[in-house]
Amino acid sequence: MTTKRINMAELADGVAQRATIPVSYAEKFVQAVFDLIEEALVREKLVKVKGLGTFKLVDVEPRESVDVNTGERILLAAHSKVTFTPDATLRDTINRPFADFETVILNEGTPTEQMETTEGGLVQDEDNANMPISAGETNTEGLEEAIQMPHSEDVADVADDLQEIIDDTAKEIEENVAPIKEPQAVTSITEIASPDTVVETKDAESGAGHAVASQFMDEPSAHSNATESVVLDSAAPVNVAESVVLEPLAPANAQESVVSEPSAPAKGATTPNEEPIVTKETRNEPVYESKNTMIRHILLNTLAAILCMFIGYAMCYYFRPFELPTLTPAHQENAVEKARPATDNKTSTEAAKQTEDSIKAIKAEPSPAKNYPQLEGGDYEIVGVQGTEVMSPGKTLLNISLKYFKSTDFVPYICKLNGIENPDIVPLDKELQIPELKHK
């Protein structure tokens, strides 16, 4: 909808086209219409044109005002002004895009200020959801600022700032997990960003590891594998440079070692080398320092754990509609359990892959037999018979459905396949065929 200024000539053109009359005629007519409205206004103060609206002359009382330029008080004389009220039909036509909105009565205690802020928050969330990596970027930007703070020995300040940044981004990311389609991407960002944050604080403190920091920032943190190795690499030079590297690195390493064990033995080899150095140096630190880092350490771990739980949950939710119920419970628990102790995205990606594979396997199952009765409007189609069940006392369609499909929702399919009209009446000793289902 581009705004365009329409003048009378264009209007006349349109009228001429509609009425199939010469343009000159139409122009004359349009001119006459508005002339007449003006004249009639002057004469009768009110003109009603059906389909357009009402033009009215309203008297304005004389009033005092102030000349904005001179500041003098002046008297505005009584005069008339033209008002226009659009016809109901025209008003509704124009308002059509918003016609669905209705006036809402607000309940008492609905805080309007909060509504405004949540709106703003939503917009932000949307932005972040579109670019999950941007959260990580803002994080590193904030870090840069913090690092650029003069190498004052004011460690506490730097640490506090960073803690704020970490918390903020972690929260943001947590909020974003739900709308984002691929939660794994987010995990990699947080997990990599959080431990490193701490590493970099310490770098700033010692004034040694700027190169390391920038090296990390150059990595766009796209593939979890690649970034993990960066974390390890960057950790190594820090140690060699004998900068004060510290406890927070330990959780990072600990996490890495847990992860790398199954997939990359080479990494596993590097980790043990680093860990002793780390712990040794920690001992040299003042007590208050290690307390500080301890708290941060705990915070980070809990954050990571919560995130993983959240992602696990989101994944269950996301994959559910595509799965046959038989598979759902086992794999979901699997994914959650795997994600929680490991505190790392890799295992969750693996779990995700597994689930995806199993879904593919199910989808790929070849049995396109079309000669079974199909339930209309169902999400699944009957592609075969997986077994039979003889009705005996105590057996119900519900518990049969539960037995074969882990859900009572599939009774209609059993009924359909066996031609049962009324699911409440099934003859004793009737042999039921259990359908094999495939998601449409």
Partner: protein, 95 residues
């Protein structure tokens, strides 16, 4: 002046049959309304400007009951008389 009188006088002036005037006026109004619906600004020289403006949603309070209501956003047609029209009506409006 209502619609009937308006059309009557218009047909008399233009020397058009009444029926044709009605039809032409209908076409004119259709054209105006379709242009405005597209969000275009309609400027009629020596008369005024028709423009569709968006009114934001807002919370209103009923002063007697204190009840608060959220009024939805809407598109409103506004008209601003040109200075020529304002000048003419200022003079003649008192009559």
């Amino acid at each position: 002046m209502n619609n009937k009188e308006f059309i009557a006088e218009l047909s008399q002036r233009e020397d058009f049959p009444l029926r044709d005037t009605k039809m032409l006026l209908k076409h004119l109004i259709d054209e105006i309304s379709s242009e405005l619906e597209d969000g275009n600004i309609l400027t009629i020289p020596n008369f005024g400007t028709f423009e569709v403006k968006k009114r934001m949603e807002r919370v209103v309070v009923n002063p007697s009951t204190g009840q608060r209501m959220l009024v939805p956003p809407r598109l409103a047609l506004t008209f601003r008389a040109s200075s020529a029209l304002r000048g003419n009506t200022k003079k003649g409006g008192d009559a």
